[in-house]
Amino acid sequence: MIHSPYVRKPVSVQRTMGLVLLALVPGIVAHVVFVGAGVLVNLAISTLTAVAAEALMLRLRKRPVGIAVADLSAVVTAWLVTLCFPPIVPWWLTVCAVLVAIVAVKHLYGGLGQNPFNPAMIAYCSMIVAFPALMSQWPPAGQLSFDTQLSLILGGPRDIDGITGATALDALRTGLRSGVQTVDKVLEGSAFGALGGRGWEWVSIGYVAGGLFLLAMRIITWHMPVAFIGVLAAIAGLFWLVDPGHFASPLFHLASGGAMLAAFFIVTDPVSGATTPRGKLLFAGGIALIAWLIRNFGAYPEGIAFGVLLMNMCVPLLDMKTQPRVFGHRHDLEGGGK
């Protein structure tokens, strides 16, 4: 650089992305331990696809390939896609999803930093719309051997009912819609564990641990996780207190589905999210609200992905309307300086 400053903090995009990947490790370990190692196969498939797609797109766009691939942003996208998908989706589904995320959502909009939408969430939404059955086959924790998982991933015959059960969110929705059951009845007998599905709770705890690590490393700020968790807990709690027979507890909502992955890794995506402190609170809070609405009244058991995309659309407005006060302009609203 020719001009000042001549010193720089030893940070880089690569370091930021690397720390995010590191923070995902506890969740992945819990996933392997409690659900099965199939997720590792999917992670490998998505990583390879993402890096290949990234390199190809960079070459087509005539951009330097090496430095951009090395920034690890494509790997983060790949891992997030895989982690919010059922771990036994066939390999081609993962490939399609990652291609959508990297090629369409990221590079067609101008590459890193330019995408208005969260790539992993577009991938999730497009796949759940295109392949609703495959996207809702979640294996109960610890009941499928690695061989079975591997054969399913590699496209083996799927004996759907035999291998997968409904997720807690799915079961709850179906149960309540049937009109005869209450929350307690749906959740009492079966394999849903103490919180949001046996085994899966540990995965959620792994994500929380990784999220706290990111907070400690100052990669993310407190605003989004706190607003997301706070609003989800608040609205779920409000309805649960009023009608516990038909609305699940806040704890259930927080531990179910991808809530913790979303709170620390999805809504905190810097590129497609709001940037001002107040904007971040509104953004994450809005996602939580939409997610809860979809979970309770929508057509899909999980609504976080749609919430993220809807709030992505609001980001320019949120940012514009929540610009922080600039130094010395405290009195602007009162009509100029002292």
């Binding site: 000042s4 001549y6 880089s12 590459g111 810097p270 130094f327 010395g328």
Partner: protein, 566 residues
């Protein structure tokens, strides 16, 4: 008396690198073979030359008379002979020249008759300010703003703040000055305080300089001055940031401390004020830190005008030094050349090597991580300004307070994508200034054009008025001369008749004139040539007639390109 400290948003903690140069006492730099004293110490403080080539000057003799409102006097830093008065390159990123007085020292350091100490208690405020100006006192923190102007502004100032924060890495000149000359600094500060009528004197020093804090506190013991250790957080030494930390007052862009009852001076400036008032000495030297990649870093008392290359020899830069930074690494600049003089604003010269200041990694795309916004002491959103600057959306950039940016470099420092954000902002600012100038020029052109139209209209109206007046006069004359000739005439013919008479008279005059006119040089030409000329004349008449009608539109069209573009 313990005041609570305030915080400003953001800030960074780069490696301070103060130890390299802070350990050694200030030494006096030897005189170089020639001193190049600029008559203009900064863009603001100008002076006009009052010496001639060959003239002998004494140390402290005035060689430049203050020029204009912001001008300050310039003095010979030592005794010697003026060998040249010429344009010389300056220590500035642009390397622009400025008029300088070149003095060859005689080595005798003979002072002019020391002016007696200036007693500001007996003098009027104006006299005291004039004394500051005549001693060439400017802000030594780097901006070199004339102190007499700063002191003259604002009224009802409660608090004087002395800035000893020195938040830039590597620089230690204020640190050493505070350690060694604390009492003098406070004496100067008290003079400043009395001049602005402030009640309170607070000295702000970053807490990474415990020796300086202790020295200042010892010197301040028993006085009303308060020495406060402020947290070391760059840019705590920015004037507005320090005022915020010590008083809680926030001064927006475009406003000065004086407007808010606070005034802030650098410790070096206070020391210069002390020398000027108590010893009657003008500002002819300053402390300069030589540090970085060199064998013997330290602080030197340097005569203004000492060429940097002579000075650098004292620090013995190592062989792998690839460039030299003037000022600190956060806001300083790489010197394009070394044959430039030390000026009043020169606080530090850093020998830079690729090891100490590695070249920036390549710029990557912005990921909107908002690290820059977290670090910005002015609470801007630098990444937004970056997007606007990149897309040359300057209107939006200004809306997002581009001009509040103090260019401290915090955002560039923390950016994980290694984007030189401040460079983008400097670019935007200069583009906006250039456009403002263009617009001003266009506005002036339009005003000139509009005035020309107005003037033509006015002249036409005046002519008509004159004609009418003349007609009325003649009519009156006629009426007087021949009331008997037209006794029964109504008003209308009476009005017509004088007009006719006027016209007839004018025609007669014209005829007479024509007859008197000398023969033209075309008269003796051959009939053929005369026919040609008549032809040309006829064509010209047609053209003139054509040109006369659409003239206004044509003029407007010509002016149109100057109109401000939407």
């Amino acid at each position: 008396m313990i005041g609570r400290l305030f915080k400003f948003h953001g800030g960074i903690k780069p490696d301070a690198h103060k130890n390299e140069s802070a350990g050694v006492a200030i030494r006096k730099a030897p005189l170089p073979p020639r001193l190049v004293v600029p008559l203009r110490q900064s863009a603001r403080a100008g002076a006009s030359c009052i010496v001639a080539v060959g003239q002998k000057v004494l140390k402290g003799e005035r060689i430049g008379e203050p020029e204009g409102f912001l001008g300050t006097a310039v003095h010979a830093p030592t005794s010697g002979t003026v060998t040249a008065i010429d344009s010389c390159p300056m220590a500035h990123p642009s390397g622009l020249d400025t008029p300088c007085v070149v003095i060859e020292p005689d080595g005798e350091e003979r002072w002019i008759e020391h002016a007696t100490p200036f007693d500001h208690h007996t003098a009027t405020r104006e006299q005291a300010l004039a004394w500051l100006r005549d001693c060439g006192i400017v802000g030594l923190g780097g901006a070199t703003f004339p102190s007499h102007v700063k002191l003259g502004r604002g009224s009802g100032i409660e608090t004087l703040i002395l800035n000893g924060a020195e938040c830039e890495p590597w620089i230690t000149c204020d640190d050493r000055l505070m350690r060694e000359r604390a009492a003098d600094i406070l004496a100067g500060a008290n003079i400043l305080r009395e001049l602005i009528g402030a009640r309170e004197l607070i000295v702000g020093v970053e807490d990474n300089k415990p020796e300086a804090v202790a020295a200042m506190q010892a010197a301040a013991a028993g006085t009303a001055a308060r020495v406060v250790a402020v947290p070391a957080l760059y840019p705590a030494g920015g004037e507005k940031q320090l005022i915020r930390v010590l008083t809680g007052v926030e001064i927006p862009y475009g406003k000065l401390g004086g407007d808010y009852g606070v005034q802030c001076f650098n410790v070096g400036t206070a020391h210069a004020v002390y020398r000027a008032f108590i010893h009657g000495e003008p500002l002819i030297s300053r402390i300069v830190t030589l540090t970085g990649n060199c064998e013997t870093p330290g602080n030197w008392e340097v005569a203004i005008g000492t060429p940097v290359e002579d000075l650098l020899a004292l620090a013995r830069p190592r062989t792998d030094t690839d460039r030299y930074l003037m000022g600190g690494p956060m806001m300083g600049f790489a010197m394009p050349r070394l044959d430039v003089p030390v000026v009043k604003g020169t606080n530090c010269i850093i020998s830079a090597s690729p090891r100490l200041f590695p070249p920036a990694p390549p710029e990557q795309p912005c990921i909107r991580c908002t690290e820059c916004a977290k670090a910005c002491p002015v609470e801007l959103q630098p990444f937004e300004l970056y997007w606007f600057s990149r897309s040359k959306n300057f209107g939006k950039a200004q809306e997002y307070h581009l001009f509040d940016c103090i260019e401290c470099g915090c955002c560039s420092y923390v950016c994980p994508a290694h984007i030189p954000l401040v460079d983008y902002f400097r670019f935007s600012k200069s583009e906006i200034w250039a456009r403002e100038r263009e617009k001003t020029a266009a506005d002036q052109a339009r005003e000139r054009f509009e005035f020309r139209n107005f003037r033509q209209e006015r002249e036409k109206a005046e002519k008509a008025a004159k004609l009418a007046a003349k007609a009325a006069e003649t009519r009156a004359k006629l009426a007087e001369a021949g009331p008997a000739e037209a006794p029964a005439a109504t008003d209308a013919p009476a009005a017509e008749d004088p007009k006719k008479a006027l016209i007839a008279a004018a025609l007669a005059r014209a005829k007479a004139q024509k007859a008197e006119i000398q023969p033209q040089n075309t008269d003796n030409l051959s009939p053929q040539t005369q026919a040609e000329i008549a032809d040309i004349e006829a064509r010209r008449k047609v053209l003139e007639a054509v040109a006369a009608t659409p003239a206004p539109q044509a003029a407007e069209a010509a002016a149109a390109p100057d109109e401000p573009r939407p």
